[in-house]
């Protein structure tokens, strides 16, 4: 049993959409180096469609793989559709993540939402799914407690 499955390893070893966009329409950052993972996702929006996305990630294998998968998933989707992407779907598309690594998919999910939030703010857009959304809320406190 390897630590990660082949899909995760492939996205980790050959990540898609690495980098930064020239003139991003929205930039989302989530996590912090102190927690061991920090992700930046940028999107290019044309009409309501996400035409491009890039990421930069400080983090472990599954954080990088999740970033790669998440960006791949939203390219071509409308904003509304992208907002419906859940961390569960990211995990499913990756063919599963070890329990202690689930939070990486949450990170990716949040980074996407933050990028869209940024886009919405800058362009005066409103999306139902972002109603009351707090880009800095910490939804990820599942750090796998040590019990003994």
């Amino acid at each position: 049993m390897a630590l990660y499955n082949d899909i995760v390893m492939d996205h980790f070893l050959n990540p898609k959409n690495v980098g930064e966009l020239e003139n991003p329409d929205g930039t989302g950052v989530y996590g912090s180096p102190v927690c061991g993972d920090m992700m930046q996702i940028q999107i290019k929006v044309d009409g309501e469609k996400i035409t491009d996305a890039k990421f930069k990630t400080f983090g472990c294998g599954s954080a990088i793989a999740s970033s790669s998968m998440a960006t791949s998933m939203i390219i071509g989707k409308t904003i509304e559709e992208a907002l419906e992407v859940t961390n569960k779907e990211i995990i499913d598309n990756l063919g599963g993540l070890p329990p202690v690594k689930v939070h990486c998919s949450v990170l990716a999910d949040k980074a996407i939402k933050n990028a869209i939030y940024d886009y919405a703010q800058k362009n005066g857009k409103h999306y139902a799914a972002l109603e009351g959304y707090d880009p800095n809320a910490d939804e990820d406190d599942d750090h796998g407690d040590i019990e003994e």
Binding site: L3, F12, G36, M38
Partner: protein, 389 residues
């Protein structure tokens, strides 16, 4: 693909000569050492011989060596056995912030039972402060436990001085020498310790075999209760082949000590020099003086350790991101925290340990790949030297 194992502090391969000694004790000379017939006595002799071999490595008397199932059991026995024995005298233990989990989790358990534990700090080089130690002593202090060599940053603590302080105050002194054994000369008489933990699988012996040195005249409670093995102090049918293997490994370690230290420190220094010179934004954690000869602990700024580990693994290179035990946990290393390394940099830390089978070509192979890998991950990373953290 080349296979380069640089995690000798996590565990070592059993040397061929060691395995060769062990083999007959599985199938042929399998008698229970407690049995009175020849097949039992032959096994007892083998255990006696191994006891002499292990004793010789640390200048102990054979009767002071008690075989256990490994370093963890030895640590648990030392701390629980001492506390149980001395509970009427006091309830205070002094140890350090950088002990192995075998010690720290045992202490945490004792805290729940009402014991008080002082965890000594380390300075930026990785050493405890003897003044802080002495100040921490109270009339309730029953045990001082300071590790000889740290498993993550390899620093060698001044145990002789610690033992002298303990002795001055009439306090029992234990040292976890699991990482020290075979990696520096150890003389228990000279060190002056009462109890010392060692483990076979860190010195090219089999896993699941270790020992607790208990100085003659020192009495602690038993921890594994049952049969009369180990002079009635540690019950359980002896791990016969494991003990024979540990003995042989100890003998080899003794004969090979000087070479081993020279070989490892040369390669380790070469690895360090190349990394520091050729990869920017890299830092060594802990002093290079008074350090485990094979240990190198490096922070690669702006990237994360597990990613480095996984990419190195793609090239057949084995390293660790901290102690082996904590590597499946997300907690940042308690040792690097105690050293004052910022948390974001702890996440980018890799431990390399070279050993007897490491070659210069291995090191070159590792550095060459490491350069590409670090560059690639920094390319991906959301933090960098211009952006900052």
């Amino acid at each position: 693909m080349r296979n380069v194992y640089l995690d000798y502090s996590a565990t070592t391969p059993v040397k061929e000569e060691v395995l060769k000694e062990m083999i007959p004790y599985f199938t042929e000379k399998f008698g229970n050492p407690s049995s009175l017939y020849d097949k039992g006595l032959e096994s007892k002799d083998a255990v006696t011989h191994a006891r002499e071999q292990v004793a010789a490595l640390i200048n102990a008397k054979p009767a002071e060596i008690y075989f256990t199932a490994g370093g963890t059991e030895s640590d648990n026995w030392a701390v629980f056995g001492a506390c149980e024995k001395l509970k009427s005298k006091g309830n205070h233990i002094i140890t350090t912030k950088i002990e192995h989990h075998a010690m720290l989790h045992s202490c945490a358990f004792l805290e729940k039972q009402g014991y008080e534990v002082t965890y000594l700090d380390i300075d930026k080089d990785g050493f405890i402060d003897l003044k802080q130690l002495e100040d921490a002593i109270t009339d309730k202090t029953i045990l001082i436990s300071v590790m000889l060599v740290n498993n993550e940053i390899g620093t060698i603590q001044p145990i002789k001085e610690v033992a002298a302080i303990a002795k001055k105050h009439g306090i029992l002194i234990h040292t976890d020498a699991v990482q020290g054994l075979g990696n520096l000369p150890i003389d228990v008489k000279d060190l002056g310790v009462d109890l010392m933990s060692v483990s076979s699988h860190k010195i090219y012996g089999p896993k699941g075999s270790g020992a607790l040195y208990i100085r003659k005249g020192v009495s602690i409670s038993n921890y594994l209760h049952g049969g009369a093995q180990e002079n009635r102090r540690r019950a359980g049918t002896e791990n016969l082949a494991g003990i024979v293997g540990f003995g042989k490994a100890a003998e080899i370690a003794k004969n090979n000590l000087e070479n081993h230290i020279k070989h490892c420190s040369e390669l380790r220094n070469y690895l360090k020099d190349r990394i520091i010179a050729e990869i920017p934004d890299t830092y060594v954690n802990g002093t290079m003086e008074k350090r485990h000869p094979g240990n190198l602990n490096i922070t690669f700024k702006y990237i994360e350790g597990e990613s480095i580990l996984l990419l190195l693994n793609q090239f057949g290179i084995s390293v660790s991101t901290g102690s082996a035990c904590s590597s499946t946990s997300l907690e940042p290393s308690h040792v690097l925290s105690a050293l004052g390394v910022p948390v974001e940099m702890i996440h980018g830390t890799v431990r390399f340990t070279v050993g007897d089978f490491t070659t210069k070509e291995d090191i070159d192979y590792v550095v060459d790949n490491l350069k590409t890998i670090v560059a690639k991950l920094r390319e991906i990373s959301s933090v960098n030297s211009t952006k900052g953290w």
